[in-house]
Symmetry: C2
Subunit: 244 residues, 2 copies
DNA sequence: ATTGACCCTCACGTTACGTTACACTTTATA
DNA sequence: TATAAAGTGTAACGTAACGTGAGGGTCAAT
């Protein structure tokens, strides 16, 4: 079951150039390449391609997709479930946009009023500002590495260090001095390495996400059971007690 | 009610740079610009922006959006209805992808079988190969102009010529020699100017779309009542009688 | 043996912004 | 009213994900 480029391209509805590109950047390397240079894609290649397209549909950058797929901890089933969830969210956004259209139609006819915010319901993807952070956590280092490539190895390690440090403290109270010291480190880490400046409120909000969104929870808990819960509490305490 | 760049950007969830860009390419020019160079956006600007974002969501290139919006025949209501329809289609694609995910999950567990085509259900946008053509028709020249700019003027004219020629024949039978000559010209026109090669079957299918899809119908009928119906029949006849 | 449909590798082009860099304005605050 | 903070302006180069030829081999069928 070996397929040539065009066959694959036609099957999945992408261009030959795209397959070439994916090969070039190492995202999808054909299982076999003849000595005349012909690419032959296997069944497994097709399955990887399916994954890639799901990620792409959700607008993940290719570099990130590559990292995620190549991570040893990558689990296809889990990924599919995540995709499912994100697709549902996307569908909801579309529904919102349709609603906005209907409202606008009425508004034009003078049948109703409309606030400026309403006029843009559904577009606001920045409506969930943690999506970005979710990507970072989902396959922790994966995304980090996709950024500046070199010093990030150290950065990824640092990140893991902090997680591990915190994981050792999960049976001490989140308000304890050690816990707060570690959380302070986490706060500073995020502010110096994500490009994002976190206000205390945002930091607290992020903490909530750790337990509200299972994507966060499952990934954080890989470093130790209950870590997400623990971090969330510690982050809340930190935020509430540093508003000088 | 004058708004500055950042206010607009924050309201609709895009970047300031994007607004600058839209201004630079003449897609959205702020209603007022102070002598210090500050951009001030009006209510009307916001409404245009809403339109732009709808088009963008449906992946129309900016150049095309610009042409469409600036066409005198542009009707906001009609546009909104088209957007609505396309969004519904997009939602359906998402549903298909979700179904594909569910199937894949079962497939992995060995609970069912799955063909290669099934694995990519929902991605295949080229599944509706007429979308492209729909864009071309929707604001006929608008899209054409967006391509190579100069010789396209001639091409657009040619296109209109053929439409007009056919419109004059709507009360002759579609099998008549004149009608078939004109349709042949149309067939050749499409094959030489769209980059797409139309097989006879595809040509016939396109003809069906002219009456099946109202987007086509309304636009074609602008050249004469019943033209879409007429062309459809002539195209079918042409296809059926030219299979060597 | 030939031909038409595919395949390859460059390599430059394109779209829609992101990202500094650097200077000027406006607004909030002391 | 001075001064800082926040916002805004114009360059101008960078980037992601391919598109689009150019020029030249390869394969399967006739």
């Amino acid at each position: 079951m070996k397929m040539k480029v065009k066959e694959v391209a036609d099957l999945v509805g992408i261009s030959v150039r795209t397959l070439h590109h994916y090969d070039a950047i190492g995202l999808l390397t054909p299982e076999e390449t003849t000595d005349t240079g012909y690419r032959y894609y296997s069944e497994r290649n097709l399955e990887t391609l399916q994954q890639i397209l799901f990620f792409r549909e959700l607008e993940f950058p290719l570099k990130e997709i590559k990292n995620i797929l190549s991570e040893p901890s990558f689990d296809r089933q889990q990924a599919l479930q995540l995709h499912r969830k994100l697709l549902l969210e996307k569908r909801e956004r579309i529904d919102q946009m349709i609603a906005t259209i209907d409202k606008t139609t009425q508004y034009i006819k003078g049948e109703r009023d409309m606030s400026n915010e309403e006029k843009f319901q559904g577009f606001n993807f920045n409506h969930n500002p943690y999506e970005e952070e979710a990507r970072k956590l989902w396959g922790a280092k994966a995304v980090e590495q996709s950024n500046t490539a070199f010093e990030n190895k150290a950065v990824g390690e640092k990140m893991n260090d902090i997680y591990r440090k915190l994981a050792h403290l999960t049976n001490t109270p989140p308000e304890s001095a050690e816990a707060q010291t570690a959380i302070t480190e986490w706060y500073e880490f995020l502010n110096t390495h994500t490009g994002h400046h976190y206000t205390l409120e945002a930091f607290k909000g992020l903490g909530h996400m750790y337990i509200a969104d299972e994507r966060f929870t499952t990934n954080i808990d890989q470093f130790g059971a209950g870590l997400a819960q623990f971090m969330s509490e510690a982050m809340t305490f930190f935020a509430d007690h540093n508003k000088n």
